[in-house]
């Protein structure tokens, strides 16, 4: 799994770009010939696919190249992927016209609002995407795109605790929840939190029973900062997004990390002679579980919009999604690929069932939403203080 994807995940909330109200400003900033307002008309029905090549923007190593090859074969077109490093990079390059593409493969929940309001993506004509019915129900009406007019979900994952079952008793983690990190004084130097200014503080808030993790109340943020800072002295906490390799390799015993990390770790990062039984994952119960997802969309100035729609449809096919998942490691938002299925198919070991969010957990999930410039600045400053050593 690539570093760029990990960077994106960590940065996407930090750089959580706009709120929908950015549209008027974008209008002011935009060039005179293109109006920056939401695109309202989708393409017409029944059009034939274009000749291509289909241009995609995505993070490096975030789609199975075999799946791409399958698409190329099926529709006799070529596919070109431009890779980007961060969410903001994608947005600014699209806005300035530096990148021209047809499909945006990984829009973050925090920036879709901006992309929509800024007229950078077009509404979808679902008649080209019959496979949309394969999608997990909650994503029919996600918080960032009401009625899923502009996007289809790509992958999703939750934030919890990844740990070594051979060093920490899973029952103990279950009982202590987030306190596990604060109580891990026996594991000094082997504890980490996510390198993300929202995730770490969100964990502190959830630990104290605060579920409104999108608050901008300075007092709550300060308390969260104080709590997380305790970890520095208590457990020599590390800050990174390498849980997927550090836990299997054993350099980290307890980590705040994403569910997909454990799946990826089990699949590719175990040293020789170590089985995946040493990996464990805990997450808060539904209602306190932070779930994040990426989405795909068609760009407003796409030259191959029909082909783009067909690509989205292609990735939402159950078998294609499964093939993609087997390489990428992040769960696609496909209803069929639930815990039972992926475990039976051998992609995920049974004891890592917790890494696959259930429908109920998704329905009741908490989302990290963009907070506007001032709100984000509060978290950024708190994070800078934490990383400075408290």
């Amino acid at each position: 799994m690539s570093q760029s994807r990990r960077d994106f995940l960590a940065r996407s909330v930090q750089l959580g770009v706009l709120i929908g109200a950015g549209a008027p400003l974008l209008q002011a900033c935009g060039s005179s010939d293109d109006k920056r307002s939401a695109v309202s008309a989708a393409i017409a029905d029944g059009l034939p696919p274009e000749k291509g090549p289909l241009r995609i923007i995505n993070y490096a190593d975030y789609v199975n190249l075999e799946v791409i090859a399958d698409f190329e074969a099926k529709y006799s077109v070529k596919v070109e992927i431009t890779s980007i490093d961060t969410d903001t990079e994608a947005t600014t390059k699209l806005a300035s016209g530096a990148i021209k593409a047809d499909v945006h493969h990984s829009m973050a929940g925090t920036s879709i609002g901006n992309l929509i309001a800024g007229g950078l993506i077009q509404p979808l004509n679902k008649s080209y995407i019959p496979n949309f019915t394969n999608v997990i129900e909650t994503f029919n009406d996600p918080w960032y795109d009401p009625s899923a007019k502009y996007s289809v979900p790509y992958t999703f994952f939750g934030t919890g605790i990844g740990f070594r079952t051979d060093r920490v008793d899973p029952a103990l983690v279950e009982a202590q929840g987030w306190d596990t990190l604060w109580n891990a004084t026996d594991f000094k130097g082997q504890v980490s939190v996510l390198d993300d200014e929202r995730e770490a503080f969100t964990m502190a808030m959830l630990r104290k029973g605060i579920t409104d993790v999108n608050t901008t109340d300075q007092k709550i943020i300060d308390q969260a900062l104080a709590d997380v800072t305790e970890l520095i002295d208590l457990v020599n906490v590390k800050v990174n997004i390498e849980g997927y390799k550090d836990i299997p390799e054993g350099t980290t015993s307890i980590a705040q990390t994403w569910s997909a990390d454990l799946i990826a770790g089990a699949a590719g990062y175990l040293p020789e002679g170590v089985t995946d039984e040493v990996l464990g994952f805990w997450h808060p119960p539904a209602g306190e579980y932070v779930v994040t997802n990426d989405s795909m969309g068609v760009l407003a100035n796409a030259e191959n919009p029909v082909l783009a729609h067909l690509y989205l449809n292609f990735l939402l096919d159950n078998d294609v999604a499964e093939k993609n998942f087997s390489w990428v490691g992040y769960l696609p938002a496909i209803a069929k690929l639930d815990a039972d299925f992926v475990i039976a198919a051998g992609y995920v070991p049974e004891h890592l069932r917790t890494c696959v969010p259930t429908n109920e957990e998704i329905a009741k999930a908490i989302y990290l939403k963009p907070l506007g410039a001032e709100g984000d600045a509060k978290y950024e400053t708190a994070w800078a203080k934490f990383t400075a050593g408290g």
Binding site: I19, T92, K238, N240, A377, W383, A384, A388, G389
Partner: protein, 303 residues
């Protein structure tokens, strides 16, 4: 003789032309870039796009962010970061001097037959990528790496996690990384020391030790200072050595890390730019000292 060449037929302008491409380039890509840092630091930020809106016109410069950052530096959380940076750099410098001076001295004055080979060995680290040398150390410092194994041979505790985020790992890393840059300039200074002065000291009855402390050392002080400055300046801005060696520990955070964080991961580029300016201001004295001594040496060589 030099004057004869340069004043012949108004040739001064010709030489200026030679220097023009370089000067033009440096102005376009260095001076303007530094100005851009100031323009961003004293500018505003787009409240929606979170990108910088630089203030190119000095009359529009807004110093509120700089004021806030300075406040944090002297009274707030950045104070700790700066103090820690100074501490790391200071300790690493001590390490460089302790290791580098004997080596440079030996190479300059005592190497004899093996001088060529020794010099090659001392120059070699320049051709080896800095990060490869750090990579080598991360290999050695793994929990089951060579360092712990060697400790085990000597019956010392062999299970220490060196990559834990402790200050000594960072100091060792900085010392290891920068000591070659310290040794070579010092070597060239020590080599140029007038051996007769040292001989004179011995001839006048001083012991080897006294000669060293009263003749050699004082003579080498300018070289020592120059080498220290050229080693220490880049160290202050280092942010990759510590994060490479500690996989992200808040306890070893240096100024460079904060700068990088603000500029790449937050919507507050003006804060990052302000920090850069503050760093430059703090290093200003060292920078000027180095430039002045270099210019003096250039003039002396060209006389």
């Amino acid at each position: 003789m030099t004057a004869a060449v340069s004043t012949r037929r108004g040739s001064n302008h010709v030489w200026a032309l030679f220097a023009l491409p370089g000067v033009g380039w440096l102005i376009a890509f260095f001076v303007v870039s530094v100005y851009a840092v100031m323009a961003v630091a004293f500018g505003k930020v787009d409240p929606f796009l979170k990108t910088a809106i630089p203030a190119w016109n000095p009359l529009q410069w807004d110093f509120t962010t700089m004021g806030r950052v300075l406040d944090e530096v002297f009274n707030g959380y950045l104070r700790k970061v700066f103090l820690r940076t100074f501490a790391f750099v200071g300790l690493a410098l001590v390490g460089c001097v302790a290791i580098g001076y004997p080596v440079a001295y030996f190479a300059a004055r005592k190497a004899g037959r093996h001088k060529g080979l020794l010099l090659a060995a001392l120059v070699l680290p320049f051709w080896i990528s800095y990060l490869m040398r750090m990579l080598a150390w991360t290999n050695l410092l793994q929990p089951d790496g060579l360092v712990n194994q060697v400790f085990g041979w000597f019956s010392l505790p062999d299970n220490r996690n060196w990559l834990d985020g402790d200050w000594y790992t960072v100091v060792i890393g900085l010392t290891y990384g920068y000591v070659p840059f310290f040794i070579l300039p010092l070597y060239s200074t020590l080599e140029r020391l007038d051996g007769r002065l040292i001989e004179a000291g011995r001839d006048l009855g001083a012991s080897a030790r006294q000669t060293f402390f009263r003749v050699t050392l004082p003579l080498s002080v300018p070289g020592l200072m120059a080498a220290s400055v050229i080693t220490v300046l880049p160290m202050f801005g280092d942010y990759y050595t510590n994060s490479y060696l500690t996989s992200g520990s808040p306890r070893t955070e240096m100024v460079g890390n904060q700068i990088e964080n603000y500029l790449r991961n937050t919507g507050q580029p003006q804060t990052g730019a302000s920090l850069v300016l503050i760093l430059m201001a703090m290093l200003f004295v060292l920078m000027v000292y180095y430039m002045v001594t270099t210019i003096r040496q250039q003039r002396a060589a060209e006389r």
